[in-house]
């Protein structure tokens, strides 16, 4: 068994209104940042896990996304990477 770090990014579905992102977009405009368009806010999740291989860790992380880390109705997830943990 080795220890891996899985990095997951969870974002609101593009079809779902993101009021947090809208508020931040507006605030950036108020601060004088020109050219700010749509802003979307999600969350980053880092999971340390023990697994037999990187592939096994990847598979485990994907199951975690499906079961808990993302809500399939409102959010999409991306497993950004699985790397050996230092």
């Amino acid at each position: 068994m080795s220890r891996f770090l899985a990095r997951v990014r969870v974002m609101p579905r593009t079809s779902i209104l993101d009021p947090q992102g809208q508020a931040v977009s507006h605030a950036l405009g108020e601060l004088g940042f020109a050219g700010v368009g749509e802003v979307r806010i999600g969350r980053a999740v880092e999971v340390l896990l023990d697994a037999a291989s990187a592939d096994a860790a990847r598979e485990g992380a994907l199951r975690m996304c499906e079961r808990l880390l993302a809500n399939p109705v409102t959010e999409d997830y991306v497993l950004e990477g699985v790397e050996p943990a230092r």
Binding site: I16, L17, L68, V73
Partner: protein, 221 residues
């Protein structure tokens, strides 16, 4: 009729629901979320609050509480389950109801009375209402915007499973003005507004009291 109010860490409308159930003539009891069973209850209420601090998403962690297995079995047996506000969020996360509750469209926490139309009297909780009846109850939530994919929304409407709809103003941007829905068996109901906070005229409205008067529900039914 025995009604159980499930208490999660962070539930804060549990006493109100207990009181409304007692006032409606039910025997009411609290069941802690670590309990593996519902202690003989005929009806289960998942109350409002902010269980587990809304960590990750509202209801996402509560869904894994031991009591939720018993709630799912109760629901699968066709027995009544009511989720109010945070309880509705828990039921959606537990997939006992379809869809999800997203952050309010206007971003702000909304706390005020709203008017809803009763769309269905085919659930144990709305049997004492008339379809089309207007009722007023308070909302108090930051994530009450009901969302689902268009196919699910169409199906809910086709099967007459939208139980309550906002009228005269949608407080949170909910799709198709949906305030409350039911499952296929019509025994599980979730809604964002708080009937337990509208259970006595002294509170400004007693429109919610009848949701706790489940006279037809007997033990084992």
């Amino acid at each position: 009729m025995k009604l159980a109010v499930v208490r999660f860490p962070g539930s804060n409308c549990d006493a109100d629901a207990w009181h409304a159930a007692r006032a409606a003539g039910a025997e009411a009891a609290y069941v802690w979320h670590r309990s593996a069973d519902l202690e003989g209850a005929d009806v289960v209420v998942l109350p409002g609050g902010f269980c587990y601090g809304d960590y990750l998403r509202p209801g996402a962690i509560a869904r894994f509480s031991p009591v939720m297995k018993a709630v799912a079995a109760h629901a699968a047996a066709g027995r009544p389950v009511l989720g109010i506000c945070n309880g509705f969020q828990v039921l959606c996360e537990a997939q006992l109801l379809p869809g999800a509750l997203a952050r309010n469209g206007g971003l702000s926490f909304v706390c005020r009375p709203v008017t809803m139309r009763v769309e269905s009297d085919a659930t144990p909780f709305t049997a004492r209402y008339r379809p089309g009846q207007l009722v007023t109850m308070p909302v108090a939530h930051g994530a009450g915007r009901y969302v689902a994919d268009p196919g699910t929304l169409d199906r809910l409407e086709r099967e007459e499973r939208v139980v309550f709809r906002y009228v005269g103003g949608n407080p949170n941007g909910a799709m198709r003005d949906i305030a409350g829905i039911t499952n296929e068996g019509r025994n599980v109901v979730g809604l964002m507004p708080h009937p337990e906070r509208a259970a006595e005229a002294l509170l400004g409205s007693d429109d919610g009291a009848a949701m706790f008067a489940l006279a037809g529900v007997a033990a084992g039914v």
